[in-house]
Symmetry: C2
Subunit: 218 residues, 2 copies
């Protein structure tokens, strides 16, 4: 399966992008990701990741033939550039320490050709944290979620159930009071180690399988 990423710059007129996506659908091309941004009153850009493009040159030519299209550029996909994502959510002090471990460890894997990103948001409040945790299931390329706090339960624990139902995301929790430690795949006391383990668990260049650990609390 040939995957490509393109950015189309076109006149900012209604219907232009719909006509282009219609053409793509007719060619049997599958659009897996789009992000549309207005550059100014006259121009809009759409970034797209596509599957099942048979003849790339012909396909790009077809897009360029639309009168309203100004340019089409081909790129590597976000998966190829930024790779797998580790998401860290929680209180600032602990998010920063988990990030320290995760960034340092992903450096060691990325240097050997992998691509692992470490994305974070410090947040407070059960509702806010639960919403951010659940939304991880709607983000592209997420492989692991680390809950970096000192008290998490209730709706945050429910959010883990919600993600787990539909997505294959590893959940690591710091050792803390609250029911998230029961829901997590792995519970780690040291925040730096939690970050390192999250990366080890998703890296192809590491031999680390959470399922084979024998116990889940460290």
């Amino acid at each position: 399966m040939r995957e490509i990423a393109i950015n189309i710059k076109a006149q900012n007129k209604p219907g232009v992008l719909r006509d282009i996506t219609d053409m793509m659908a007719k060619c049997g091309v599958n659009i897996t990701y789009t992000y549309h941004f207005t550059e100014d009153v006259k121009s809009a850009s759409i970034y797209m990741e596509l599957e099942y493009v048979d003849n790339v040159d012909k396909f790009i030519e077809n897009i360029r033939n639309f009168r309203e299209v100004k340019s089409v550029d081909i790129y590597h996909s976000m998966g190829e550039i930024y790779g797998k994502r580790i998401i860290i959510i929680g209180g600032g002090a602990q998010v920063a320490m988990v990030a320290q471990g995760a960034i340092t460890e992903s450096d060691r894997h990325n240097i050997r050709g992998e691509r692992i990103s470490v994305d974070t948001i410090p947040l407070v409040g059960e509702e806010e944290l639960a919403e951010a945790a659940a939304a991880v299931g709607r983000l592209p390329r997420v492989e692991a979620l680390v809950l970096a706090g000192s008290l998490m339960g209730g709706k945050i624990a429910q959010a883990i159930d919600e993600i787990k139902k539909d997505h294959d995301v590893l959940v690591i929790s710091l050792n803390m009071p609250g029911s998230v430690t029961e829901k997590a795949d792995l519970v780690v006391t040291d925040p730096v180690q939690a970050g390192v383990m999250a990366v080890m668990a998703v890296a192809d260049t590491a031999i680390f399988d959470v399922k084979k650990l024998g116990r889940k609390k460290f």
Copy 2:
């Protein structure tokens, strides 16, 4: 303008999502973001952010009426949940220190109701760094890019020109050898301070305007 985010779970059949997006276009709804994922052989989900939805209840009802649609859920948008993004790219040791500053500072703003995320990738190599820096222009919600390295120039400096041409992204560079310091809006020697300043510059709850600083190197 009413913005909404929805997740549609539907049978994984060709044409289903195209029919739904056709209906949206006919209603004058603008799709700003989509992310499509296959859950299993039978089901697919599409997450969408939409503008210009006049009657939300009626609109959701219209989607539910498609025979292949299993469920439609409404969410806050990624902008409302994860907010503005600071992207940090460079060598592991320095990315981790900049992240330390940025996460700690964004904690202070998020606690007052803002949403600022700190997203990172440690990488090596001029080509790799240049590609990751340029791709920042194709990521949603990015407000600032921090270049956290010890030697960056050439294609990485060109990538900054490329982003700046089309996007309103603040570029902060650590003080280092290489031409990126000439292209950056701000050059900071201390990595923790570079992270803090990146967040201050994009936060609504901070009074910090890079343009008013008088000099750009600290």
